[in-house]
């Protein structure tokens, strides 16, 4: 009997991340993705470092921490970070670990405070993360510098339209460069008027036995699943655009990794919902104060916007109702993150947003419509989680490994279906007309592969070669 040797970090059994990423690179041009990416443990360990340990990730909306001292506890990968507004109004993202012994210093999900005190020995930090004291300081630490012993901040923090992102990698490009072409599309959702958006309450959190990439994949523009998985919602009148009609629109690879999709009629004067179904009294306030006339026009014609900012931040705006018999569909806006919690678990964080200038009644209607459809108890989302659980089960199966099981991402490739590349389009990115198309998801996985294989300090391109 021989002894099998394993290099450090390599799995004793199962396929390695290297092997699966090679398969991904080979298969992607043909629209094939190895199923094991959705469950393999080695892949997951690499994701925590190469994706979540490096990329800009969404943490909070500025409206959650409006007052000085307001804080929320959030995650980058599996790790806790305090997002806190300091006494000067700045936003800090601090690793929730005391510099003395690594103990959690923030033990509530949200609150308002002037300081964080470690429960172990009492090291105390202000809202900038600076160490300000500890019990009997002179006896214990007199002569030691407080400077350099503060809570460790994320490498970079930045906001875009009030959306707070952070990265742990000092070599990360500025947020706007990382978002690339996606900024044009984020503008036309979050910058529709001068007031902007706010969140309606803290996020819902729920845990599914699924892989985080299923959420990112779905929100990159999986419109085709509506006709089967969500067929029940038409029968109860929750969504006003018929399935076939709703497949019209654009699939857009905004820039490497970031994808989105618009449901849009072929003609400008179609009678269907405008501006994601928001009420006319509100849409009258949408203007070009922060966006171009082109962006405003695209938003006006949009029935649905759905998109994903790589890796795990998704946005959805569309007309919905929780009670079709009594309330017509109205625009809702949800933002969510797919927080990794193991190769086979994801924690969904789900916020509902509203434009700040909406009336209390409009906000209430939008909140109820959103909660009744796109939440864990909502008529749409309750069905989504069913298939994702089994995607992940397939992903961690021995059968997928030994049978070399590949998932089909071929919709809309040359010669397949009716989707066609569009050249005339006012915004950035690679654009297809009609949403029978999975290039948006191939874009997610193509950038994913490059991030997973990028050497430390190196970054993939943030623009397409053939745009």
């Amino acid at each position: 009997m021989t002894t099998t040797e394993h290099r450090p970090g390599e799995q004793p059994v199962g396929l390695s991340a290297d092997h699966l990423l090679r398969q991904l690179d080979e298969g992607l041009p043909a629209g094939e993705i190895p199923a094991a990416l959705f469950g393999n443990e080695d892949v997951y360990r690499h994701e925590l470092r190469s994706v979540f340990g490096r990329c800009w990730v969404f943490l909070a909306h500025e409206s959650e921490i409006e007052a000085r001292g307001d804080y929320v506890l959030r995650k980058i990968g599996e790790d806790n970070f305090v997002v806190v507004r300091d006494e000067e109004g700045g936003i800090n993202v601090l690793f929730d670990a005391c510099r003395h012994r690594g103990v959690q210093v923030c033990r509530a999900d949200s609150g308002n405070t002037s300081h964080f005190r470690c429960p172990y020995h009492g090291w105390t930090y202000n809202t900038k993360g600076d160490l300000v004291g500890a019990p009997l300081w002179r006896n214990a630490f007199g002569g030691m510098s407080k400077e350099g012993n503060g809570l460790v901040p994320a490498a970079k923090v930045a906001s875009y339209h009030g959306l707070v992102f952070a990265t742990l990698d000092p070599s990360a490009p500025p947020l706007a460069e990382y978002l690339g072409g996606m900024t044009w599309y984020l503008d036309l959702v979050f910058g529709l008027n001068a007031e902007g958006v706010e969140v309606l309450g803290p996020p819902q959190r729920f845990v599914i036995d699924a892989n985080w990439k299923s959420g990112a994949d779905n929100f990159s523009g999986d419109d085709y699943h509506l006709g089967t998985l969500h067929r029940s919602v038409w029968e109860i009148g929750a969504f006003p655009v018929p399935f076939r009609e709703n497949m019209l629109g654009y699939h857009i690879q905004a820039s490497p990794g970031h994808s989105l999709s618009f449901s849009m009629a072929p003609t400008e004067d179609e009678p269907g919902p405008k501006f994601f179904g928001y009420p006319e009294e509100l849409t009258k306030t949408f203007d070009t104060s922060r966006i171009s006339a082109h962006q405003l026009d695209v938003a006006r014609r949009s029935r649905v916007f759905v998109g994903n900012v790589f890796p795990n931040f998704s946005i959805l705006a569309l007309p919905m109702t929780e009670d079709g018999a009594n309330h017509p569909p109205t625009g809702i806006l949800t933002i969510r993150t797919w927080q990794p919690k193991g190769p086979g678990q994801v924690e969904v964080w789900n916020w509902f947003c509203a434009y700040k200038n909406m009336t209390p009644e409009q906000k209430d209607r939008a909140y109820k419509a959103g909660l009744g459809t796109f939440s864990m108890g909502g008529s749409f989302e309750m069905d989504d989680t069913e298939p994702w659980i089994t995607v992940s089960r397939t992903g961690r199966s021995v059968a997928a490994e030994v049978l070399d099981f590949k998932l089909n991402y071929q919709m809309g490739m040359p010669g397949i279906g009716i989707a066609k590349r569009v050249e005339e389009w006012p915004g950035p990115g690679i654009v297809y007309w009609t949403r029978y198309e999975e290039g948006v998801q191939r874009n997610l996985f193509s950038f994913y592969s490059r991030m997973m294989q990028a050497a430390p300090g190196q970054w993939p391109d943030f623009t397409f070669d053939d745009e």
């Binding site: 999900d109 845990v207 998985l229 969500h230 029940s232 009594n326 924690e347 864990m376 108890g377």
Partner: protein, 175 residues
């Protein structure tokens, strides 16, 4: 609910009626007769809510949000959920979960305006397909029952779960 309420002793006629009502309700829900439950036991003016909860410091209380929810339902939206489950495409509950409601610690108060306030402890166990470990929801229900045409109906329900992060893939079941 009128704040002037009188505690109703266990074993009294009203208390027995309420316990009976809760058991009947649990039976209908556990047997999958949610349409009958809605039709026969729920007021057309019901407000049925599961508030969102956060971990907060003791000084801030139990952490339940006043204006944010996991569920915030009216009769119309509950009817919509029931109708959805009866379509052929309600994948979330077809095949259906096996659920079991355990209701204990029933405390009843009667208000001057005839409304009946009920607090009870709730344990819901749910299994699906080949699961052997059930998903569990422990918490408390704060109900208000109202007598309509002589029959008690669910007028208000607040479900206060012991969880801040919900460990289940959906809330497609009724509490």
């Amino acid at each position: 609910m009128n704040p002037i309420t009188t505690k109703v002793r266990a074993g009294s006629e009203l208390h027995c009626e309420v316990v009976d009502w809760l058991d009947t309700e649990a039976e209908l829900l556990d047997d999958g007769h949610e349409a009958r439950w809605l039709e026969e036991m729920v007021s057309r003016e019901v407000i049925y809510q599961m508030p969102l909860r956060q971990t907060v410091e003791r000084a801030r209380g139990a952490g339940f949000e006043e204006h944010a929810f996991h569920l915030d339902e009216t009769y119309g939206s509950l009817a919509s959920r029931v109708a959805r489950n009866q379509t052929l495409y309600a994948w979330a509950e077809d095949p259906p979960s096996r659920i079991r409601h355990f209701i204990t610690g029933v405390r009843v108060s009667e208000a001057e305006d005839g409304l009946v306030a009920v607090r009870s402890n709730l344990l819901v166990m749910r299994t699906r397909q080949e699961m052997t470990q059930p998903q569990t929801f422990a918490g408390e229900r704060r109900d208000v029952l109202r007598r309509e045409d002589g029959v008690l109906r669910l007028y208000r329900r607040t479900i206060l779960l012991d969880l801040t992060v919900i460990g289940t893939h959906n809330l497609a079941i009724f509490f």
